[in-house]
Symmetry: C2
Subunit: 400 residues, 2 copies
């Protein structure tokens, strides 16, 4: 029997009209001959509302109990989709994490899937044409509910597809993977295919389409993902291991902007690797993400620069005040800046992308504050006003 996993995001099931629409889409797939495993998120903003409710009882709600509250969101939306499917004459049933037996770690509010009982899944698929499964949730071995954290429903869907060895369709309010945010550059290009690696690097712009944890699982188990909109029949984007051979690989697949960045610079640190690692360890312990770390050795001293999102800058300053006083060195913060990133697995086999990128910056008279590169990514920290101007130039240069 042909099986497919279809995941519908919160905005796709935000009200009863949309729920009936989702049911019609699932029913269509059944009529094409598929057994459908449908993974559904909580309706609209339900999860946020449930979190607020819990926080109205306690500023710091017990996480095991918070998960008990949160999992109800998906249980309601799944049952409603099943109700709508039944009305269409489809033999459907909704299942929560207990019934599906999605086993996770004990790490409440941010658990990881450990196993899914596939015998159980297959027996439901024998008896029903559609099983509607609560995304975002699981149970521990000793029968406590857990949730999988942000993007958890995507993870549930891909994990189910991996277990069933089938493709996974992810429906949201975005019609696929674009080379950049259409708000930044309206003529942006939608890809028919994107590799897992590109998708992972495109996290910033891709998060609304597909969560990176889900992509990691898809990559590991080679699950083909199809991202599209639940509101139109427009063609979406396949996320795959390798592009089809007939398709010329683009050098750059995406461009993204991270705004509100501040640059921190520490000058004249002693040439001691322990000092640098000590600083960044303390920052990490405070759960502050620093990015674009670059280090230059200059004779007797080391200069370090990094970026941090502006509302976390004060936290970093506090830490630096404590740490650096020992060494008697100074730091300064600059900004705000915008980080502009181009991504493409094609860079691996195509030379000169970095130089084309830097040339473009120079020809526009933009002097980057920081540059970092990886195998498939180049990022430059530039002034806020130049960033938006650069987007269009870069899109033209790399045919995005």
């Amino acid at each position: 029997m042909a099986v497919i996993v279809q995941k519908y995001g919160g905005s796709s099931v935000a009200d009863s009209v949309r729920i009936k629409n989702v049911a019609r889409r699932i029913a269509r797939k059944v009529k094409e001959g598929f057994k459908v495993v449908s993974v559904v998120s909580a309706m609209g903003k339900t999860t946020d509302q449930l979190i607020s409710l819990a926080k109205s009882v306690s500023v710091n709600p017990n996480e095991r109990e918070l998960d008990m509250v949160l999992v109800t969101g998906e249980q309601v939306s799944c049952a409603l989709v099943a109700i709508a499917l039944r009305d269409l004459g489809i033999n459907a049933i909704s299942l929560n994490a207990f019934q599906t037996k999605i086993l996770t770690t004990r790490n409440h509010t941010n658990a990881r899937i450990v196993d899914i009982n596939s015998e159980n899944l297959k027996s439901y698929l024998k008896n029903y044409d559609v099983i509607v499964i609560t995304g975002f949730q699981g149970i521990t071995e000793d029968e406590h509910f857990t949730t999988l954290g942000r993007g958890g429903s995507d993870t549930s869907a891909v994990a189910l597809a991996a277990k069933l060895g089938c493709d996974c369709e992810i429906y949201s309010d975005v019609s696929g993977v674009f080379s950049c945010d259409p708000k930044l550059y309206p003529k942006t290009r939608k890809w028919k295919y994107v590799t897992y690696d590109d998708m992972l690097e495109l996290a910033a712009m891709g998060a609304r389409v597909l969560h990176s944890r889900a992509v990691e699982i898809a990559k590991k188990y080679n699950v083909k993902i199809y991202c599209a909109s639940s509101f139109t029949d427009e063609e979406g984007t396949w996320v795959v291991e390798r592009l089809p051979e007939w398709l010329e690989e683009p050098v750059v697949t995406g461009i993204s902007l991270d705004e509100n960045q501040m640059k921190g610079s520490i000058t004249n640190l002693p040439n001691d690797a322990n000092v640098i690692s000590d600083i960044f360890k303390r920052v990490a312990e405070k759960e502050i993400n620093v990015d674009m770390i670059s280090l230059v050795k200059n004779g007797e001293a080391t200069h370090v620069s990094f970026t941090v999102i502006s509302d976390r800058a004060n936290g970093v300053k506090e830490l630096l005040d404590q740490t650096l006083s020992v060494y008697g060195v100074k730091y300064r913060f600059y900004g705000r800046f915008t980080k502009i990133t181009v991504v493409g697995t094609g860079m691996r086999s195509s030379y000169g992308v970095a130089s084309r990128f830097l040339e473009l910056l120079a020809s526009e008279g933009v002097e980057p504050e920081l540059i970092t590169t990886s195998e498939i990514k180049i990022s430059a920290l530039v002034s806020e006003e130049s960033a938006h101007r650069l987007v269009e130039k870069i899109c033209n240069e790399f045919e995005l």
Copy 2:
């Protein structure tokens, strides 16, 4: 270890302030040395809202899926109570029907409890001081959620108390069992003790305090129930098998009014039991409740009178038109009337209650349209205007 079951109704947990209040009450019991099994209803009007939501998707939602939706209401409120208890430093955990293993029949939306795994309960009670259990719900043997119908949380609470062999406290927004609705007679009396049998007969006025299915289970397993308000520390009412010996048994424990009654009279029916049973069978098939049926044989003919709530009268008329045409007999409807009922297990051992009751009616110049009596109950159908006047007289006569 001393265990007690405490049930809190929907209005007692309607918002986060009330939830914290309930948590404080439970915590107090823990500090008195009890392990508390707390059964909690869904917050305020949640169940009604969830039903509306399901009906916005389908006019006739699949019942198995409707139960999937409904059970989330109690899961949220229970987890919130557990969160509030944790904040008070109480070692509490919330459990749904899966985790508690409350086994029911498969009769969705109106299931009956078949068994509760007491080993499981006891193991949770070993590890926690409070377990907060979702009322109103259960699971079938093959792991589908069920709900227990109206008053289901009371039933859950009493069933748990029966299983644990402990007392059951039922908290709502009513402070106990009154001899009549305080709206009818402000000087009404609150009982310290009421028998199961009285409580069952007092259903009409008792429903807001304690559901009759719960009383039936309490009677069967001899569970002592204490009904009180969660909003005050006022003394409530014990519902028990027998009143304490030191307490003089009241002859009459309660009085209730059923308004909007119409009287139907069918005259000159043939003396054939089949005819009468045929009529009432058809009425029952239409799910119309008729009450106070009284039958008088008069030579060759039989006269039947009964009451029906006025908005169902048209349904009965339709049926009578179809059925009676065969026999060529006539019927008439009268009203509206009010049914006034006095209840008391004390009537069993005390003679003359009926005559005192009828005398009172006569002295007030009230001519009852119909009278029915049972071992512990007398009802009279009277005009609406005299009913309210009679309440006070009856309360005085029987010291209510």
